[in-house]
């Protein structure tokens, strides 16, 4: 598991709230800090990391959890 400065679980919401919730969590972080976002397989993993890329944040690690979800570690303003 990667070190992290913040965490948000978006497995309890569906599109389009997934990215909205993740984005709000990212807004509370400082530049350079790492946010862990826990998300479901399917549309969230296909879209949320890409949306972060479009906003200039860098995915640094993707970990597959035992329950089938993913933990994506994202560095704020890393791009």
């Amino acid at each position: 598991m990667h070190n992290r400065d913040g965490f948000v679980d978006i497995t309890d919401v569906v599109c389009p709230i997934t990215f909205v919730k993740a984005k709000i969590a990212m807004e509370e972080m400082e530049s350079g800090k790492i946010l862990e976002v826990k998300m479901n397989d399917g549309e969230p993993i296909q879209n949320v990391p890409r949306s972060f890329k479009d906003e200039g944040h860098k995915v640094i690690q993707v970990v597959k959890n035992e329950d089938g979800t993913y933990s994506v570690f994202i560095e704020k303003d890393g791009l």
Binding site: D41, I45, Q46, P49, R50, K53, D54, K58, V59, I60, Q61, V62, V63, K64, Y70, V72, G78, L79
Partner: protein
């Protein structure tokens, strides 16, 4: 198109890629008000029809349409409306400029007489909003990905988003991580290229072609029998050859799919390849500047 009601026609309008100018729409509005019953019908293939045009008004309506640069659409045994999604010009997922391609296809093939109707469609990526495989010939935007080891951070994202499971990333402990790409499993969707946070996947956009789809009385899904094609010129040669094949082998009133099923897919494939259409194209598919050791190439046939 003739209606149930005597001497009434539902006037089909030629459309390309599902787009119509605002001024043209105004003209459609006027015609529907003045000559129809004040409404239009949107067809399943991105067309507009104005119902209840009377036989005696048909010529007037045609000249009114012409004033706005519009003309009647095609029905009967010929090339129909070329449909398209918005593609790369508008849609973030788009890999090809579908609207521009649809215009070219329309200019080249629209209303060309054939043994039966022939539908062409262009969809910008694997999300397939325009359902390429439903058409006699469907075109889908695709991408051949190329991985650059030196920029890859082995984050693992591409492995989990790849729909073909063509990528395996091993993170490794002491800088000995690696990525293995299996060309045979790659569906050319381009998602790795769009998602990679560091641009380690680069790609060349191209066309995936599906042959023989039909979704009417007979249901059949179009088949991809050629690898991805990169040049638009080659794409047109393939379409020319396909249409020539249909005209040559079809019995009158036979749909393209039935023709291919009857005379054999091998023959279609042979005729497409025979023209040496693809020889150069296939040579170009050789993956440039890749870390070849990391790549599992398809078995030579």
């Amino acid at each position: 198109m003739r209606q149930v009601q005597k001497d009434c026609f539902s006037m089909r309008i030629r459309s390309v890629g599902g787009q119509i100018g605002a001024e043209q729409l105004k003209k459609v509005y006027e015609i529907a008000q003045d000559y129809g019953q004040g409404y239009v019908h949107l067809t399943s293939r991105q067309g507009i029809e104005i119902p209840f045009i009377k036989l005696e008004d048909v010529e007037t309506v045609k000249s009114e349409l012409a004033k706005a640069g519009l003309e009647p659409g095609a029905c009967g045994p010929r090339v129909r409306t070329v449909t398209a999604c918005q593609g790369s010009a508008i849609c973030p997922s788009g890999l090809i400029d579908t609207s521009a391609l649809a215009k070219e296809l329309d200019a080249r093939y629209f209303a060309k007489d054939l043994p039966h109707k022939f539908k062409l469609a262009v969809t910008g990526c694997g999300n397939n909003c325009l359902k390429a495989e439903e058409n006699d010939l469907g075109i889908k935007g695709g991408m051949q990905p190329v991985w650059d080891k030196s920029t890859c951070s082995l984050c693992g994202l591409c492995e989990v988003i790849c729909p073909g499971k063509a990528i395996i990333v091993s993170k490794g402990d002491k800088g000995d991580g690696n990525l293995v790409f299996t060309q045979e499993k790659c569906t050319n969707c381009g998602k790795c290229v769009k998602s990679c946070p560091v641009g380690a996947w680069q790609g060349k956009a191209g066309f995936l072609i599906y042959f023989g789809g039909t979704f009417g009385n007979q249901i059949a899904v179009g088949k991809q029998i050629l690898p991805i094609i990169f040049s638009q010129e080659k794409l047109f040669s393939v379409i020319d050859a396909t249409i020539a094949f249909f005209a040559k082998y079809a019995r009158p009133g036979e749909r393209f799919r039935s023709t291919v099923e009857r005379v054999g897919w091998e023959l279609l494939e042979k005729e497409l390849l025979e023209k040496e259409l693809l020889e150069k194209e296939l040579a170009e598919t050789v993956l440039p500047e890749m870390e070849l050791a990391e790549i599992v190439l398809p078995e030579q046939k």
